[in-house]
Amino acid sequence: MKTGLGVSDTLQEADNKEHIRTRIDKTLLADNQANVQNSAAQIRMTAKDVNVHYADNHAIKDVSLSIYANEVLSIIGPSGCGKSTFLRCLNRINDIIDDCKIRGEIKLDGKDIYSADMDVVELRARVGMVFQKPNPFPKSVYDNVAYGPRLHSMVSNREETDEVVYSCLRQVGLLAEVEKRIHKSGTELSGGQQQRLCIARALAVKPDVILMDEPCSALDPIATAKIEDLIDELRTQYSIVIVTHSMQQAARVSQRTAYFNLGDLVEMGDTGQIFTNPQHQLTEDYITGRFG
């Protein structure tokens, strides 16, 4: 655990905007850490001292946090604060970006996901992801959902596939809407349906953790509401990490909230506490709209 800068320094440079981030008091996070250690049984993933660099850009700085089973953790923060980057580290989807360098430790069920004996295919199967823009494959609705199970040979015949596909579609509440055109292209659905299709596709792989990267930013309010309801339902089976721009959404769906700013994890805690009684000035500024 790194210690923050001395208080005197902090005071001296209090109004120096350059150094705003240095005022982050890492001790505020200690509770959280302690909390994590106490409830070890429920922990799915832990991140410790994670640093991410894109070429010259230090995108994530010494971030540590944990993800519990059956909770929704939302990550909020201004644009460019590194929340998506952090999310994308959790299933190593950032690996495909050439100059992305990651230091630190991220564990899934106690196993370091960046260690040599961790298979990235297995990791991604266990940590599913839903993206900002609905991105169904240019295949039929059915094939979209069956994609993962077929890849991993989780299904061996048509009946099993049907079962997985239908149950996943039902789970996201899409079955009734698309049953008639289940063999038509998934790209022909409406935006909200597409996004639910993408969630169904992620569920079909039976992941432990689902990462959602601003899943509703491209959707209208009605579709958003449906997805939010769905997220709440899914909590009973999965751990969900959701990155969102919308504080209302974070307040609605998540149990805990983490606030990121310029690559730092500024504050983390119960959603209610973060929104009603933020401990940190930066968090308060952001939540009250004084940021920037």
């Binding site: 049984a41 069920d109 106690g110 432990d208």
Partner: protein
């Protein structure tokens, strides 16, 4: 650690499948790598084989003869009438006093190129004061001996050329080499002469000039017309069936086989308009029709890349549409248009088939001095030389290819440089 139930991911079935999938991944990557290496190997093979064959063309085996310009051989008034061949041959014979028989002498004299006498003649005509003096002159040897000296071609039967050089000739030639009278020297003829049936006298200048005039005509026609058409189609043309048709038509023309353009040139320019055969003017006309679509397409892309904000800005200031395009948009698109033009012209420079159709494939020795003189072009010269039976032409052909490729690569580098230097990201 949490006692999660054994999930699918921990089952041996999944682990086995995973291993297989890893292997498939590895294989797929390998196939890709192999394919890329095959592609690269083809480039390497093409260039290495042509370079190895071709560098020799820039050197010519020559023989040093100390020729005495005996005043008795020359008459005052007519330098042209003197027997220069005799001068050359006698000098050669003087190195081999033992050769006396007529047949042997004839064999000996074949070591020197048949064009040597004309070279000596030109030298004397240019400098009559040589008469009465002795001068060391390097003269080209016959192509067979050139090959013999360069690649040992014809020395033994395994190389396939035996029978071209007799035992005696071999002996004489080797002794000339031993005496230091034979040397490989820079082949100036190659760059200053026109075509010839004798490989050692053949040069590229005629073909180069032919290509120059052809490309000049192509450029003068295709660039202004192409740029104007691109401007019209991209900036002014209304979107309707007719302009759609023009667009489809241009895209299609870009993919029409070049030989069909040759047919067009033959039927229209030569048979209908009655323009002469074999001249760069017709070649240039045909090639500019062929290049036009490329230039139009590139020009349109360049114009398209100029953001609408520039146009809107200019229009908002009260400029007319034409003013906006000509003064604001075209200058910004010009680097892109020029790049497209260079690429199109480079393609035209290497084009052969249409030129065959319009008769630029004749045996032409004289260097053309204008776009209405009959001539060949560089790629056609390559085609003609490939068909020649003399072994030495393989080398000349490869040399010509090297020069052609050098031009093309230079043009492409200029195009890339232009693009990088002036390309703007909007």
């Amino acid at each position: 650690m949490p006692q999660t139930p054994v999930s699918f991911w921990d089952t041996p079935k999944f682990k086995r499948g995973l291993a297989k999938r890893r292997a498939a991944e590895w294989r797929f990557k390998l196939y890709g790598l192999i394919a890329m290496l095959i592609g690269l190997a083809s480039v390497a093979l093409l260039f290495v084989s042509i370079t190895l064959n071709g560098v020799g063309a820039f050197w010519q085996t020559q023989i040093k003869l100390d020729i005495f310009f005996d005043p008795a051989e020359f008459s005052e008034e007519n330098l042209q009438a003197a027997n220069y061949g005799k001068l050359v041959k006698n000098t050669l014979y003087s190195h081999f006093p033992e050769v006396t028989k007529r047949k042997e002498k004839r064999q000996l004299s074949r070591i020197v190129s048949v064009g040597a006498d004309i070279m000596v003649q030109k030298m004397v005509m240019a400098e009559p004061s040589l008469i009465g003096t002795t001068k060391s002159i390097w003269l080209p040897v016959d192509d067979v001996f050139d090959m013999l000296h360069k690649i040992d071609f014809g020395r033994d039967s395994s190389k396939g050329g035996s029978g071209l050089v007799s035992e005696n000739q071999l002996k004489w030639f080797d002794s000339l080499v031993a005496n230091g009278l034979i040397d490989s020297r820079f082949n100036r003829t190659y760059f200053t002469a026109g075509d010839s049936r004798e490989p050692e006298l053949a040069g590229l200048l005629g073909a180069l000039m032919g290509s120059f005039y052809t490309i000049l005509v192509t450029l003068l026609i295709s660039f202004p017309v192409g740029a104007a058409a691109a401007c019209y189609l991209e900036e002014f043309a209304p979107r309707n069936r007719f302009t759609d048709f023009i667009e489809i038509n241009i895209n299609n023309l870009a993919a029409v086989p070049s030989v069909v353009f040759g047919l067009l040139g033959l039927a229209v320019f030569i048979n209908f308009f009655g323009l002469p055969r074999s001249v760069p003017l017709v070649g240039g006309l045909v090639l500019s029709l062929m290049t036009l679509p490329t230039i139009i397409i590139a020009g349109r892309a360049a114009l398209h890349a100029v953001p609408p904000s520039i146009r809107e800005g200019a229009l908002a200031l009260g400029a007319s549409k034409t003013q906006t395009v000509i003064q604001e948009v075209v200058p910004l698109a010009m680097p892109g248009m020029l790049t497209g033009t260079i690429i199109g012209i480079a393609r035209a420079l290497g084009e052969t088939a249409p030129l065959l159709m319009i008769g630029m494939v004749a045996f032409i020795v004289d260097i053309p001095s204008g776009p209405l003189d009959p001539s060949t072009a560089l790629p056609v010269q390559i085609f003609l030389w490939v068909d020649s039976p003399e072994r030495a032409f393989v080398e000349k052909t490869s040399g010509a290819i090297l020069i052609l490729l050098a031009f093309l690569i230079t043009m492409n580098i200029v195009a890339v440089w232009l693009r990088q230097k002036f390309e703007r990201r909007w």
